[in-house]
């Protein structure tokens, strides 16, 4: 009995001379594609930011122009704004890709869908979470915070939006292709996002009051780590199911 050559045992995967791309390379490519697309359509990027600015504008008008009073509600106002703005941006996360068949091709790419979805979510965070975090200190100053609070506010929003983007990716994937999806998306995502709100608001509050904001920041970091490890798996499963 002769031992068959390895090439006989493993069926041809690809035409001769073709090599499969590595999953990391594929994910990197997916990230770059989303960034490039976003910069060709910058209007979509500005929308959530304008929304956030409007929400923070509501508070002085609704409560009082007195900075000492605004300082009290600033953490809540900033986080409510950030939460709603990132929720608004979530609808763009998968919608276009689902419509033009790109998401299907991701599922069929032979690469880890989890990695690709994670890459897409990273791009989304870079395009919405980071700009939001950069704008928040300015909004905080407008609501009566001092310059000393800027590092704390910035760190809290940067860490918090990581979790918001990842949790939101699950919700966005689940509500893909559904009618009236935006109300449902909020209903699914907001309860899960409450821990971010709690720790985030506390960190901002402490930063504005000049106290130590390390403890809530650590919780925010823990939440971010937890969601980085688990959320892409759930979002990938949800994408698969939603495309059926």
């Amino acid at each position: 009995m002769s031992t068959p050559a390895i090439s006989d045992l493993s069926p041809p995967l690809l035409a001769p001379g073709t090599t499969r791309a590595r999953s990391t390379a594929a994910a990197w490519l997916a990230l770059r594609r989303d960034l490039k697309l976003a910069f060709r359509k910058p209007a979509q990027l500005v929308q959530p930011l304008a929304f956030f600015a409007l929400v923070t504008l509501i508070f002085p008008l609704a409560i009082s122009p007195e900075l000492s009073q605004l300082r009290q509600v600033a953490p809540g106002a900033l986080w409510a704004g950030a939460l709603l703005a990132s929720l608004l941006a979530l609808e763009f996360l998968f919608r276009d890709d689902a419509q033009d068949g790109t998401l299907e091709q991701y599922v069929l790419s032979g690469q880890s869908l989890t990695a690709l979805i994670f890459a897409k979510t990273c791009a989304h965070w870079l395009l919405t979470g980071v700009p939001l975090a950069l704008v928040t200190p300015a909004a905080a100053l407008a609501l009566g915070a001092t310059l000393d609070s800027v590092p704390g506010v910035l760190a809290a929003v940067v860490l918090g939006t990581v979790t918001l983007s990842l949790l939101g990716a699950i919700g966005a994937a689940l509500t893909l292709n559904l009618k009236r999806s935006s109300a449902l998306l909020s209903l699914l995502t907001l309860p899960l996002a409450l821990p971010v709100l709690i720790f985030g608001a506390r960190a901002v509050q402490q930063a504005i009051a000049g106290g130590s904001y390390l403890a809530p920041l650590e919780f925010l970091a823990a939440l971010a780590v937890l969601s980085v490890t688990l959320a892409p798996l759930a979002a990938a499963a949800a994408v698969r199911i939603s495309l059926e």
Binding site: D8, L14, A15, R33, R40, G110
Partner: protein, 207 residues
């Protein structure tokens, strides 16, 4: 020894209350082409999607080279390329950029191979224009270049000749014939006869 082939056995699929696929079975070996025909609503696209693993078939198995594809979907997906109704191209990118990203997530290729594939489908002249400026037929040609570039042995094509002129339809026929001649496998949903494609077996789905 496992041979390169696609075996579909007893596939059943329901959409809500509708029994769309009823015990569909077929075998497709290397160097063969399967034409899936049937009236509208017979489940042609659904069958293609079920084979690809995009639609969830409640019963039945799909085997690739003797292996149930559900056990290792990624290997199976790496070996197949699926072209659906939508050509999966981004309107804001050029055809060339689109292929770089789309096929680039699957496999590596040199720029010269990309040029060759575009030339083969007659899309080289429009390759650097944003896809939004292309006609439906031109988009289809660009997508077909992607299929060639993927190097996948198994092609799953959903009405590949839609929106194409007579020359384009002949092109699809000859691309499939060429691929099959090299030992590739093609499963295609077709409405019309594709010129140049005579050797295909046919699977007719009843409504």
């Amino acid at each position: 020894m496992p041979t390169t082939q696609l075996e579909v056995e007893n596939l059943h699929l329901w959409r809500a209350e509708r029994h769309v696929l009823r015990a569909v079975s077929f075998r497709l070996a290397a160097g063969q082409c399967l034409k899936v025909t049937g009236v509208n609503g017979a489940g042609k696209t659904t069958l293609l999607r079920a084979v690809a693993g995009l639609a969830y078939a409640e019963e039945g198995t799909v085997r690739w080279c003797g292996q149930d594809v559900r056990r290792d979907l990624r290997t199976f997906h790496a070996a197949m390329i699926y072209l659906g109704h939508e050509p999966a191209l981004k309107a804001d990118l050029t055809a060339r950029e689109n292929l770089r990203y789309w096929i680039g997530t699957r496999n590596r290729f040199a720029e010269s191979e990309l040029d060759a594939a575009l030339a083969r489908t007659g899309a080289n002249s429009i390759a650097d224009r944003p896809v939004r400026t292309l006609s439906a037929g031109q988009r289809r040609r660009a997508a077909l270049a992607g299929v060639i570039l993927s190097g996948a042995p198994l092609w799953l094509l959903d009405e590949p000749a839609t929106n194409l002129d007579t020359a384009g339809q002949a092109l699809v026929g000859s691309l499939i014939a060429e691929h099959v001649g090299r030992g590739g496998l093609v499963m295609a949903v077709v409405h019309h006869e594709l010129p140049g494609l005579v050797t295909a077996t046919q699977l007719e789905l009843a409504a």
